[in-house]
């Protein structure tokens, strides 16, 4: 569900606050745009340092949201975009959807909230998909459902492993029942791909919720997540209303999910490429480049 975006953790001690205030004071007086506020620890941290560390905070390891393009650049030696047969459809003629769509495209510079590529990771050929939450919060409508389905079909036909990085507010409300049905369509795509005995690695990133959690993203042969990622089905607000109480601090965080048995591993972004490379090798995929 789209509203289910909750960043950072609120508890910061007074001492920490004071220390930060001092640091902030210096940094706020530095040339503009060199620092960024971390959602994890609340510090102002140098942008170049964040960049060097794969967009994670040098102070607290908070993983910043990254674009689908950055994700691919970070992981792959080279790649080409596939599955780009695109047009706008308003399946339930939802009032205002087109305008909102245009707005999202303008704001994000994206055509949709997904990027699918065929590329090489340390020489191993694969299909990689990344959702992008700058576009409609990465919510899954028919287009994303179709593209994910085609990605599985493409990979299955060519005996390639597939890698999906999810981030999503859930199903795209504006496409109504058609969005809901993408949960079935994509899950069935996983099933069919599974018949080819190729490897599907699913990595949940912050935040992954709703219909994406309850479909393809939970169906990886190997289930990974980035540290601190919010992962869940129901939104925090809905749950609070239902139980009429507060939620535990680490509720729906990757660490919580691992403890509850739903993740194979939590992998720091800086180790992600190497970790996935090891998995691919172990599953018999070989480098096909010099």
């Amino acid at each position: 569900m789209e509203e289910n975006i909750r960043d950072g953790r609120p508890i910061i001690s007074i001492i920490k606050k004071l220390r930060r205030f001092k640091k902030d004071f210096k940094r706020m007086n530095a040339p503009e745009g060199l620092f960024e506020r971390c959602n994890g620890c609340g510090d102002l941290v140098p942008k170049n340092k964040i960049g060097e560390r794969f967009y994670t905070c040098p102070e607290c390891d908070y993983h910043f949201n990254i674009s689908s393009g950055d994700r691919m650049n970070m992981l792959l030696d080279e790649y080409k975009v596939i599955n780009r047969t695109y047009k706008f459809i308003n399946p339930i003629d939802f009032p205002g959807y087109k305008a909102k769509y245009k707005e999202n495209r303008k704001k994000s510079g994206l055509r949709e909230g997904i990027l699918t590529v065929e590329g090489y990771l340390n020489g191993i050929k694969l299909v990689a998909v990344a959702l992008d939450n700058r576009f409609f919060m990465g919510s899954m409508g028919s287009y994303i459902g179709e593209e994910i389905t085609r990605a599985f079909e493409y990979a299955g036909k060519r005996d390639l492993p597939i890698l999906i990085f999810s981030t999503s507010g859930g199903a795209r409300m504006q496409e109504g029942i058609f969005s809901l049905m993408q949960m079935a369509k994509t899950s069935i795509a996983v099933e069919r791909y599974g018949e080819t005995k190729n490897l599907y690695i699913s990595c949940m990133t912050n935040p992954t919720t709703g219909g994406v959690t309850a479909s393809f993203a939970s169906l990886g042969d190997i289930m990974l997540a980035e540290p601190g990622a919010l992962i869940g089905f129901a939104g925090a607000r809905v749950i609070k209303e239902t139980i009429k109480g507060e939620l535990p601090e680490d509720f729906q965080r990757a660490e919580f999910l691992k403890e509850k048995g739903f993740l194979d591993e939590i992998v720091h972004r800086k180790d992600m490429k190497e970790y996935i490379y090891k998995l691919l090798k172990l599953h018999g995929y070989r480098s096909c480049k010099g």
Partner: protein, 299 residues
């Protein structure tokens, strides 16, 4: 809203003289009333406390039902009922989401909102059905999956995803009947079927209208407006080719009306089942998977 119709029919009954004329008149009133139903009314009908619940549908359609319990993993989720029985002379497995008619019942059944153990119980029974080559009929009437801490802890999203995947490859016929409210992934997790049959006043939606309004307009009280744009009625779903059949309803909320609805539905299920049972396991799986492959694929 229903009250209005009830009063009209009561009045008619009091004035009744000739049986045939009464019948015609009654039908006329109901039809006229129906023609005025907005999607909002249909949502209210779908959720009406006097409307038969999934268990009523099961007990009126399945002969000699035997109810089984538990997921063999964690618990027996009372919001899901399931078991075996006959449809005509064919042994079948049935699954239903269980809503109550009173507050007490609803507390017991968690208002028809399953937890992961409910979906896993359903899946267990469906795999049992597959082993013994029994068709599966599911009866859906749920606001959705339960949004609670414990449900999230035990993997609500994972449970729904696994059910969808596993249902898609079961080698027996699956028919899903929407009897009332079909809410969100919680309804989808029990309805990946070869044929979807919807009662005329059942709904199937991406989310409850209240939730929809909250997310899109930050105001849950706008749910009536939401029903107008969500396209969640049986007719909408039929037009979108997601529902395969819509069963006409007598909406007089009388026992007789209910019985007629059950009979129409039963006849339709038996007909669909007959044709599905002629297909090979491989064909059943392929057709079911292809049905969903096509939805929203115009790119």
């Amino acid at each position: 809203m229903i009250k209005e119709l009830e009063e009209m029919l009561k009045e008619l009954e009091e004035k009744k003289q000739n049986q045939e004329a009464f019948k015609i008149k009654r039908k006329q009133i109901i039809e006229e009333y129906k023609s005025k139903l907005t999607p909002y009314h249909r949502v209210q009908l779908a959720r009406h406390e006097k409307r038969p619940k999934a268990k009523d549908f099961i007990e009126n359609i399945v002969s000699e039902p035997m109810f089984f319990h538990g997921d063999k993993l964690f618990s027996d989720d009372r919001s899901i009922v399931g078991g075996v029985g006959y449809l005509g002379h064919v042994p079948i497995t049935f699954i239903g989401t269980n809503k109550g008619k009173t507050l007490e019942e609803n507390v017991e059944y968690n208002f028809g909102m399953p937890k992961p153990e409910g979906y896993r119980k359903a899946l267990r029974l469906m795999k049992q059905a597959e082993k013994f080559n029994r068709p599966i009929i599911t009866f859906i009437d749920t606001p959705g999956a339960y949004p609670g801490i414990d449900a999230e802890e035990r993997g609500q999203g994972e449970a729904i995803a696994i059910n969808i995947l596993e249902m898609s490859r079961l080698e027996v016929p699956i028919i899903s009947v929407f009897t009332g409210e079909g809410g969100s992934g919680g309804a989808l997790a029990l309805s990946v079927a070869n044929k979807i049959i919807m009662m005329e006043n059942s709904i199937f939606s991406i989310l409850s209208p209240e939730g929809f309004a909250t997310i899109l307009w930050k105001d849950g009280t706008l749910y009536e407006k939401a029903t107008e744009v969500m396209k969640l009625t049986a007719k909408d779903l039929y037009d979108y080719k997601i529902a395969d059949r819509v069963i006409e309803e007598d909406i007089s909320f009388s026992m007789k009306g209910f019985q007629e609805n059950f009979a129409r539905l039963k006849e339709e299920i038996i007909k669909e089942l007959e044709s599905l049972r002629k297909k090979s396991p491989a064909r059943l799986v392929k057709e079911r998977q292809n049905k969903y492959r096509k939805i929203g694929g115009g790119y």
